[in-house]
């Protein structure tokens, strides 16, 4: 049996996010026997198999394709758009795989009737929060204050992503099987993507602080910082895109400082560094203008081991998110034994009900109320830690990976 696996998601930025964790954990546990041949599709920039040490002694077929990147040259731009909207898999088709596993539904799949396609779907957030992630191109037609050039660029940009996601949904529909990572994603797939429910199977991820070579180090300055903190500590680790309301978290932090007493805020993630250009300007403004900004610590990019260390040494982990496919950071916090405050939406009640503190509504004020509850009630905090640890044990990678590979073997 020939199994083709698309490794490109590991090369376009997903490796640091939840999607990367899912793929890596699945690949680490791939079955190895004589009947199986693996074909890995990747860009020429690096080799994820070597980089993450996945194969061991494995013999596999390596299919390398050139990455088309965004360019201002009109011809290259057209090629970029074409390759994104109509992806071709000529090199892969030559090897005639029986099964093709696509880990990111935006990257397409071969149109070959003999190849069975399995797609992993993490979430349909762009469709759920359309206003933030996938605004209609019609919105920009009336933007008369912009130059015609910028307006056309915005319109084309919006159109491009609309098409790309539409193709993604089409791929989900023509896949033999779709693997979703939570019940809430499954119901979204049925509701928004119109994917037949009997085609979808739910396989949960689990918390895992992966131990790569570079990931076991805990920097001394972080240890020093954590040791010298006075008073309770709020931790946030993650990105600052629109669905994560970091601004509201900082507001809650300000309010707690103003009304209850001194508290610290640790912000971890690639974007929280002084020279980061991708930090949301509104978040940056909120951090800089805070009257209590001297106890906000921006840690920048942190390793897995540091994340675990911070979770173990913080009073509360706050994750204000408007939508999640699964909510891996919440599960990781639960496993590390840190009480969690989060919003009640999407998959979060499914994985963490009873083990985290959900706010009543959205917004910074509600986070503040929850902060007061957790920090001033030790019993509640210790109960959440206990429940969280118990709940996190229900998810484990061995089971999930077994289920996953079984699904693929059965597909033949």
């Amino acid at each position: 049996m020939k199994i083709a696996f698309d490794l490109r998601p590991l090369q376009i930025g997903h490796q640091n996010r939840g999607i990367g964790a899912y793929i890596l954990n699945i690949l680490e546990r791939m079955p190895k026997n004589d009947g199986l041949t693996y074909i890995f599709l990747r860009y020429d920039s690096s080799n994820p198999i070597d980089k993450y040490n996945l194969g061991g002694e494995l013999n596999y077929i390596d299919v390398v394709i050139k990455k088309r990147s965004f360019s201002k040259n009109p011809i290259k731009l057209l090629l970029y758009v074409y390759s994104n909207l109509v992806p071709a898999f000529n090199k892969l088709k030559r090897h005639k795989p029986d099964v093709f596993v696509q880990c990111d539904y935006l990257l397409g799949a071969p149109k070959n009737l003999r190849t069975k396609i399995i797609t992993i779907s993490y979430d349909l957030i762009p469709y759920v929060l359309r206003g933030y992630y996938l605004p209609s191109w019609r919105k920009y037609v009336g933007f008369r204050h912009l130059r015609i050039r910028s307006r056309v660029r915005l319109i084309l940009h919006a159109w491009f992503y609309e098409q790309k996601y539409r193709n993604g949904i089409r791929l989900l529909k023509r896949s033999k099987r779709v693997i979703s990572i939570s019940k809430s994603t499954t119901s979204d797939l049925v509701r928004l993507g119109r994917v037949p429910e009997n085609k979808i199977s739910t396989i949960y991820p689990a918390a895992s602080f992966r131990k790569n070579k570079q990931d076991v180090i805990i920097r001394d300055e972080i240890k020093e910082l954590v040791k010298n903190l006075k008073g309770p500590t709020i931790l946030y680790v993650g990105a600052t895109d629109r669905r994560r309301q970091v601004k509201e978290l900082i507001f809650a932090y300000n309010l707690y400082n103003a009304r209850e007493g001194a508290i610290n805020l640790l912000l971890g993630g690639k974007e929280f560094s002084t020279d980061s250009k991708s930090l949301d300007p509104k978040v940056k403004q909120e951090i800089l203008s805070s009257s209590y900004s001297d106890t906000i610590h921006m840690l920048g990019k942190i390793t897995e081991a540091e994340k675990k260390y911070l979770l173990e040494n913080s009073s509360v982990f706050v994750y204000p998110t408007l939508y999640e496919g699964f909510g891996l950071p919440v599960l990781e916090a639960m496993e590390a034994g840190c009480p969690v405050i989060t919003y009640r939406n999407s998959s979060l009640p499914e994985i963490a009900d009873g083990a985290v503190l959900f706010t009543e509504e959205y917004g910074g004020y509600e986070i503040y109320i929850s902060l007061c509850r957790i920090l001033q009630d030790d019993k509640l905090a210790s109960r959440l830690v206990k429940e969280g640890k118990a709940k996190a044990k229900l998810f484990n990678w061995e089971n999930s990976a077994n289920q996953f590979w079984e699904e693929i073997m059965n597909c033949k």
Binding site: S136, K139, G142, R144, H145, R259, S289
Partner: protein, 388 residues
């Protein structure tokens, strides 16, 4: 779920960009910011907002960094437009921009030919308390607001008190007037750290503990009575607490300044900031104050008291117009004309710690009653109804 019909809205954005950024400008900016946030949601994605800005100051609109609005340039400068308004020679605005709902956030509206228009009328002080409004402005408002109401499909105002007055004055139906309350943006207004307070006080040359007033220096704010009440405080209280007056120059303020100078001559600590106070520094000044005193004769709503509440400062407020509505039971209310009881109440607030704590606690609850997002929802609902 059927697709909703697109609602096109045009907002006269003059108040957002003029150099003298007043209370009306703040209200409009905050309301539009909340609307901007709401337009990301599916429920409101059928709204298309355009903001008309005067040609000369058009670039100043970008400091708000709205995500979902587009901007158009107005045909005349504000000066010319006001002249034409007075002469009733203003062309119908919808001949220029097409059919949409027109929102005018500054009392007076343009005529429209076939489109609904909605003015925001904050209060009727120019009719009921004409002595508090500049005569030139008063004539203009009386005439223009009458016309605006006649042209309008609906009216937006900011408090129950104003709503009742408008309904009574223009004999309207209850459903014609909607209330979009102002609120405190708690992202900016919270109790500042001691470090920030000290820094800000040093920046504006303020020292010691103080009673704070924020607002334009004009007769409507009843400053003379406040000064008088401060004068009548017991000596030991007076020595401990100064009086800080923060605000832009209004009109008819000579008498007030004379009073301040004569009090300073007698060694009383009546302070004014040494520099124009920036908006970002207001929370720190509020937080540093021992009491916030706001004893106006008339207010459309009264935002400064609730801003003070958000910063955890006890409030002394007068009991007329819409102020009781704004401050609820979280402020110590006094009669604006009774100087003696005002002074007594101020002394009590400064010395009674238990009362202060209770007021602060009530204040934190009171400010939760107002929310920009709720007001924005009211606005959008009104616009949708007007468009239908």
């Amino acid at each position: 779920m059927g697709k909703k019909k697109t609602v096109k809205v045009f907002v006269d954005g003059e108040v957002l960009v003029i150099k003298h950024f007043s209370g009306i400008g703040h209200y409009t900016a905050e309301l539009l910011k909340a609307v901007d946030r709401l337009l990301f949601e599916d429920e409101y994605s059928h709204f298309r907002f355009e903001i008309g800005v005067p040609r000369s100051d058009a670039h100043r609109i970008h400091r708000f960094s709205f995500d979902n609005f587009s901007f158009r340039k107005m045909p005349f400068s504000p000066h010319v437009a006001n002249g034409l308004k007075q002469r009733k020679r203003l062309p119908p605005i919808d001949l220029l921009y097409g059919k949409r709902v027109y929102l005018f956030p500054n009392y007076s509206s343009w005529p429209t030919y076939f489109s609904p228009s909605i003015p925001v009328i904050y209060d009727l002080s120019f009719i009921h308390h004409s002595e508090f409004v500049e005569p030139k402005n008063q004539e203009f408002l009386v005439e223009q607001v009458g016309l605006s109401v006649k042209r309008s499909k609906k009216i937006i105002t900011i408090s129950h008190n104003s709503k009742n007055e408008i309904i009574k004055e223009f004999t309207l139906k209850d459903s014609d007037v909607e209330i979009a309350f102002p609120a405190v943006d708690m992202h900016n207004f919270y109790r500042s750290s001691d470090h920030t307070i000290a820094h800000t006080k040093a920046k504006y040359g303020v020292f010691g503990d103080y009673v704070l007033f924020v607002g334009n220096i004009e007769p409507r704010k009843n400053l003379i009575s406040l000064l008088e009440a401060y004068d009548q405080l017991p000596k030991d209280v007076q020595n401990k607490y100064g009086l800080l007056l923060v605000g832009a120059k209004g009109w008819l303020d000579d008498e007030i300044h004379r009073r301040i100078i004569s009090m300073r001559m007698r060694g009383l600590r009546v302070m004014q900031p040494t520099d124009y106070v920036e908006d970002d520094d207001l929370p720190a000044l509020y937080s540093g104050a021992s009491v916030f005193a706001y004893v106006s004769r008339y207010e459309g709503f009264g935002i400064p008291p609730i801003e003070a509440m958000a910063c955890g400062t006890p409030v002394l407020s007068s009991d007329n117009s819409s102020l009781p509505e704004a401050v609820g039971d979280a402020a110590s209310l006094v009669d604006a004309t009774d100087i003696k009881s005002m002074s007594k109440q101020l002394a009590k607030l400064l010395t009674n710690n238990k009362l202060r704590q209770e007021l602060v606690k009530n204040g934190y609850e009171q400010i939760m009653k107002f929310d920009w997002e709720e007001s924005a929802k009211v606005l959008l609902k009104t616009l949708e109804e007007a468009a239908a």
